[in-house]
């Protein structure tokens, strides 16, 4: 058990994955000498050499497309996309190629490729640097989509993602990179399980990635008002751990889901649809969603009002409870 930041945990997780298997290669823009713009790959090129930690030309389709070729050759590539908003030039390679390859091959060709995406807002960045685009990938059959919310999960989930024979889109909440936390030596959950972060009997608050901390803060505030909020960290956005999710929803009968992505067709829509379908009789109130508004990400001086913050979550909890 050690204390470290999420950024460091990812760095150590990648290092461990590379040490464990020399077929693991890391590729992306500026990840070598610079260590990536967030320093997540810091020191890796020194340790593993420029053949395993590759500064690529500046082209996301190229990064993903050549990673697919490397995977066909037996490698396990980990791609870094520099910022969330720059993954779209690689969209075809992710959605048409990476995601479908195994199914196209009749289940024979494995695609052990990880796509790391620093995601989300809250760091005062310029446009295209604060997006939450997990829903595009979660809607895509053939991909797995996960997001870490703590240093502990960051450390273990990145290794589990590398070990997976399926392609994994790995979202890293960039505004949590500098948050510290304990990291246990062994993982307590597999890559695809949700975690009940806080027990609670009155209402279930579902979050993932950067919003988990917001959810926990809201739960604390609510507690001081005597409301007992259960907080669930999805961890895996696709597949959803429906077992945990439905059990939690049933236990409280009230669900609020919070995420930074646009509300319309955000993962909250799937959570609401799935929970409602499977737990209809147990629900005391409709599943409420607290997402970003359906605007393109605003100039950063307006992001605090744009992102779902503690107050909006508390408001939704109240609406759910008073339904």
């Amino acid at each position: 058990m050690t204390q470290m930041t999420m950024g460091k945990a990812l760095n150590e997780g990648l290092r461990a994955a590379m040490q464990a298997d020399d077929k693991v290669v890391v590729l992306g823009e500026d990840i070598g000498a610079l260590g990536g713009v967030f320093r997540i790959t810091e020191g890796l090129q020194d340790q593993f050499g420029p053949q395993r930690v590759v500064d690529t030309p500046l082209a996301e389709s190229g990064i993903v497309g050549t990673a697919i070729g490397l995977a066909m050759r037996g490698y396990r590539p980990v791609c870094e996309i520099q910022f969330d908003g720059f993954v779209y030039p690689g969209f075809d390679q992710i959605v048409s190629q990476l995601a479908k390859m195994r199914a196209r091959s009749g289940g024979r060709l494995a695609m052990p490729v990880v796509i790391r995406i620093p995601c989300g807002g809250g760091i005062g960045a310029v446009e295209h640097h604060s997006e939450s685009n997990e829903a595009y990938f979660a809607h895509t059959a053939g991909l797995r989509v996960v997001s870490c919310a703590t240093p502990e999960d960051a450390f273990h989930m990145i290794q589990q993602a590398v070990l997976s024979d399926d392609p994994v889109v790995f979202f890293e909440p960039k505004r949590r990179y500098w948050d510290k936390g304990d990291v246990a030596d062994t993982p307590s959950l597999d890559l695809h399980s949700a975690r009940v972060v806080r027990a609670g009997a009155d209402v279930t608050l579902v979050a993932h990635g950067p919003s988990v901390k917001v959810a926990e803060q809201a739960a604390s505030f609510a507690a001081s008002d005597g409301v007992d909020v259960q907080v669930v960290d999805l961890r895996s956005v696709s597949p959803l751990d429906t077992t945990t999710l439905h059990a939690c929803a049933r236990s409280t009968g009230r669900v609020v889901v919070v995420h930074e992505a646009s509300t319309f067709l955000g993962i909250g829509a799937e959570v609401a649809a799935s929970v409602t379908e499977h737990c209809f009789r147990d629900l005391q109130a409709p599943v409420l969603r607290v997402g970003a508004y359906d605007l393109p990400y605003p100039p950063s001086k307006a992001e605090d009002d744009f992102l779902p913050g503690v107050d909006r979550v508390l408001d939704a909890l109240e609406r759910s409870l008073s339904y």
Binding site: G62, M72, Y75, D166
Partner: protein, 375 residues
């Protein structure tokens, strides 16, 4: 300010050095359309056995094409894309590889696929709609088709980089069309391959058309020149001359194999048929153009050469008989292709456990059982 010289502004055209796009180079040609060796060809290496092998390859490829067309017309295939006219490009290039070299085709490389040992039926299966990938790509070192244009060139480049890392001296060859070269992916691949000195040959079958779009609406300059600009070694060859294609590809492959970096080959050829069985080329091109290319037919050309070189009728009848067999057997096998069953597919999307998939699979089985119950 008075000390400044005040020279009248000269025509900028004269004062700076401009690099003008150079015209295309003249394609390498060894066999003229009437089957004679050209001057270049007379200096070229010629391997008897290879010539007859390549004739057979091309001939059988064309027979497969014709039979597939028939099958499509009879409703037995959903679609078919003919290689008609491009046989020399495919055979000449694939025969210049070692069996261990890895090939990333586009979607029209049936004739090349046959050379790699794919069965005709495997080649049809995708177009009958029973599978997406119809053959064992590892065993044949011939990857399954990519229908999203140009996407395979990046896979090929990544694979080639992997070969290099592994210290293996195999090379990769990827096929790409003239139209596909307009895609960002193909240009990213050329650049990536160059930066990495990847052991890869980009083989462009420039068949002059991308569905209804002629080259002049697709690009300017010349494709092999573009590749040169990306830092690749590049060649242009008469794509209807199997002999020249083979030799040029060999040169390219040996360059790539020996660490010289990536190579681009532009094969000047022609799509004699419509784009696919759904296409009617008379809507956009003149029959006269096709006639011109008929006179450059790659199979006729090699046949004329072989006959002039003394290859006798027996050989040609043998090959023809083999073609009859192929046509006959592929028709039978095609009709017997096993159809896919949806319930089998749920387990073929992910390698690892997936609760949502499991729920859907269960739901599908439940639904099927209600259907049965209703009957």
């Amino acid at each position: 300010m008075t000390a400044l010289r005040s020279v009248p502004v000269a025509s900028p055209e004269r004062s700076v050095q401009a690099l003008l796009p150079r015209a295309a180079a003249i394609p390498t040609q060894y066999l003229s359309p009437d089957g004679n060796l050209t001057e270049q060809g007379r200096g070229a290496p010629i391997d008897d056995a290879l010539m007859t092998t390549m004739f057979r390859d091309m001939y059988l490829g064309r027979r497969l094409d014709q039979q597939a067309l028939n099958l499509q017309r009879q409703g037995e295939l959903g679609l078919w894309l003919m290689s008609l006219g491009q046989e020399a490009s495919q055979v000449g290039s694939i025969r210049a590889l070692r069996d261990t070299d890895y090939v990333f085709p586009s979607y029209r490389e049936h004739v090349a696929g046959l050379c790699r040992g794919l069965t005709p039926t495997q080649l049809l299966s995708q177009w009958r709609g029973v599978v997406h990938a119809g053959w064992d790509w590892e065993a044949t070192r011939f990857h399954f088709y990519s229908l999203v244009l140009g996407s395979q060139t990046l896979h090929a480049t990544g694979y080639a980089i992997g070969l290099k890392h592994d210290g293996v001296d195999d090379v990769v060859l990827t096929y790409v069309g003239d139209g596909a070269t307009s895609q960002g992916d193909v240009n990213e691949a050329l650049n990536w391959a160059a930066v990495n000195d990847a052991p890869i040959v980009f083989f462009c079958q420039n068949n002059n058309w991308a569905i209804s779009t002629p080259n002049r609406a697709q690009y300017r300059g010349a494709l092999h020149r573009r590749a040169t600009g990306f830092g690749l070694r590049s060649y242009i060859v008469d794509g209807n001359d199997a002999l020249a294609v083979h030799d040029v590809t060999q040169a390219a492959v040996s360059h790539a194999r020996n660490g010289g970096g990536p190579v681009f080959i532009e094969a000047d050829t022609y799509r004699m048929a419509g784009h696919s069985t759904s296409d009617d080329p008379r809507r956009y091109r003149e029959d006269a153009e096709t006639e011109v290319w008929k006179a450059r037919d790659p199979i006729t050309r090699l046949e004329l050469y072989l006959r002039a070189s003394g290859v006798d009728d027996d050989y040609f009848s043998e090959v023809r008989a083999e073609g009859d067999d192929l046509a006959e057997s592929v028709r039978k096998a095609c009709l017997q292709l096993e159809e896919p069953v949806l319930t089998d597919l749920f387990s073929k999307v992910y390698a690892e456990q997936h609760p949502v998939m499991d729920l859907q699979h269960a739901e599908h089985l439940r639904f099927l059982s209600t259907l049965e119950a209703a009957q």
